[in-house]
Symmetry: C2
Subunit: 238 residues, 2 copies
C-alpha cells in the first residue's frame, strides 16, 4: 500500500508506538523526542486522566503537528473493544496511505499494559511499516523514587495488573508490583496485612507528577489513593 503514495509524498508512511515514560518529561528517551519531532500526526490517549498526563509530557514537541485523540471505550466487552481497535487501526492506515509519519504516544512502555499494542498488531498484519519505541515503565520510576530496587540477585519480580485478584498470586516466591492499584488500594492493604507482607510494601501515587505522593511504608496510608498508584512488595522492609 505504501507504493500507492502520490508523487508529492517523499516518505512512506510509518506508525511509531512511542513510550513516553511515566510522567516526568525528562524521562522521555532521545529516540522518543526524535520520533515526535519528525512526525506529522501525534495520537494521544483519551481516557480518564491519561490524556492530560501524556499531553503534559509531550507538549513541547507538538508545534505544527496534527493532534488526534484515541477513543478507547472503557468497557470489558471483547466484541466492543475489537470493533473499536479495528476502527482505530483503519484510521491509522488511512493516514499511512497518505504518507504520514504517525506517532501514537503511550504512557510508560508500550509493551506493558498499553492499548497501543492492539492497534500495532493490526496495522503490522496489514503490511505497514511499524516500530515500537520502548519507554521507562512506571514501576522503574516508582522504585527510583523510593530508593529501592525491584529485584536483586536471585529474586524474581512479578507484575500484577489492577484487574487481577490481588490475593491470587501472593504466595508466588517473588517481589511484586501492583499496577494502577488505586481503585482497590485499601483492600490490597488488608490482603497484604493478612499475609504478613504489608511491612515490606511501599506505595507511590502519581510518580513524577506535580501531585506525587510517596509512602515508603504502604501501611501508613489511611485513605484511598488515585488511579496511578503503584505498590511494591518485597520481603525486606524499606
Amino acid at each position: 500500500m505504501q507504493t500507492e503514495n502520490t508523487a508529492a509524498q517523499h516518505r512512506p508512511g510509518k506508525l511509531w508506538g512511542v513510550g513516553i515514560g511515566p510522567g516526568d518529561p525528562e524521562l522521555l528517551t532521545l529516540k522518543a523526542v526524535q520520533v515526535l519531532w519528525q512526525s506529522d500526526v501525534v495520537i494521544l490517549p483519551d481516557a480518564n486522566g491519561p490524556e492530560k498526563t501524556a499531553m503534559n509530557i509531550v507538549h513541547n514537541y507538538l508545534k505544527g503537528k496534527t493532534l488526534l485523540f484515541a477513543k478507547t471505550p472503557m468497557v470489558r466487552d471483547p466484541a466492543v473493544l475489537e470493533k473499536a481497535h479495528e476502527k482505530a487501526a483503519e484510521e491509522i492506515c488511512t493516514l499511512l496511505d497518505q504518507g504520514k509519519q504517525v506517532a501514537f504516544v503511550t504512557l510508560g512502555d508500550p509493551a506493558i499494559y498499553s492499548t497501543y499494542m492492539y492497534l500495532h498488531q493490526r496495522v503490522l498484519s496489514r503490511g505497514y511499516n511499524v516500530e515500537v519505541v520502548p519507554g521507562v515503565p512506571s514501576f522503574c520510576a516508582a522504585a527510583a523514587r523510593l530508593n529501592r530496587s525491584l529485584c536483586q540477585g536471585r529474586e524474581p519480580l512479578l507484575i500484577i495488573p489492577a484487574s487481577y485478584d490481588p490475593s491470587a498470586l501472593l504466595d508466588v516466591p517473588a517481589n511484586k508490583v501492583f499496577m494502577k492499584a488505586g481503585r482497590s488500594i485499601l483492600e490490597l492493604q488488608k490482603v497484604l496485612a493478612d499475609k504478613g507482607q504489608l511491612d515490606g510494601a511501599s506505595l507511590v501515587e502519581n510518580c513524577g507528577m506535580a501531585n506525587e505522593r510517596v509512602y515508603p511504608r504502604f501501611a501508613d496510608l489511611t485513605e484511598p489513593s488515585g488511579y496511578f498508584s503503584l505498590v511494591i512488595v518485597k520481603a525486606e522492609t524499606p
Copy 2:
C-alpha cells in the same frame, strides 16, 4: 559531611545512579544525558562485557570527565561481595566529600538486577545526597524489537533472573521473561518444550547492539547464545 566541602566547591556532592537503557544510545533519557553532562566523575561497570556496552552508550557525554571503573567481583560469597560493596561505597563517599557530582551508570534500569543499588543503599544510609534515574529495561526493548507486548489486560508478568532454576516458576499463571539466559539457553529451551510453552517463546540476543539477533520463534535457535539473551514466554504464539 557535605558541609565540610572547601570554599572552592560551590555544589554539595551528589551520587546519581543512572539507568542508560539496554544498548541503543538513543534510548538514553533526557535526564540521563543531563546528569552525565553535569557530572564530574562517571563510574562505569567493569565486568565481562557490560563495560564495553555501557561505554558505547555514553561515550558521547564523557569529554572532560574523570572515568572510573567499578570492580565487581564475579563471586557469590556474600562476605566477599559485602566487602567489595563497602569499599566501593567508601570510595564514592570520598568523592562526594570533595563536592563531586558522581554518575554511576548502569545498563537498563538501576532497580532491576543492578549492582548499583547495593552501593546506593550504603551511600544513602551514610546521609549523602543520592538519586536514581530510571532507565528503559532490556525486556521492554526486546518486546519492542519483537513487535510483541509483554502483558495486556489481565495478564501478570513474571521476570526471572538467570540464576533462578528456570523450571521452578513455569506453572505460575503469568507471561514470563527470562533475563540473561545465555549460559543455559538450550536447557531453558528444553524445559519450555517439556511444559508445552516453547511455541509462545521468543528470543532476543544483544538487543539494540550491532550484534543483535532476533528469534521470533525461540524454537528456531539451535546453538548457544550470548550473555545478553532474553527470552519472552507467552501463552499466545508470536
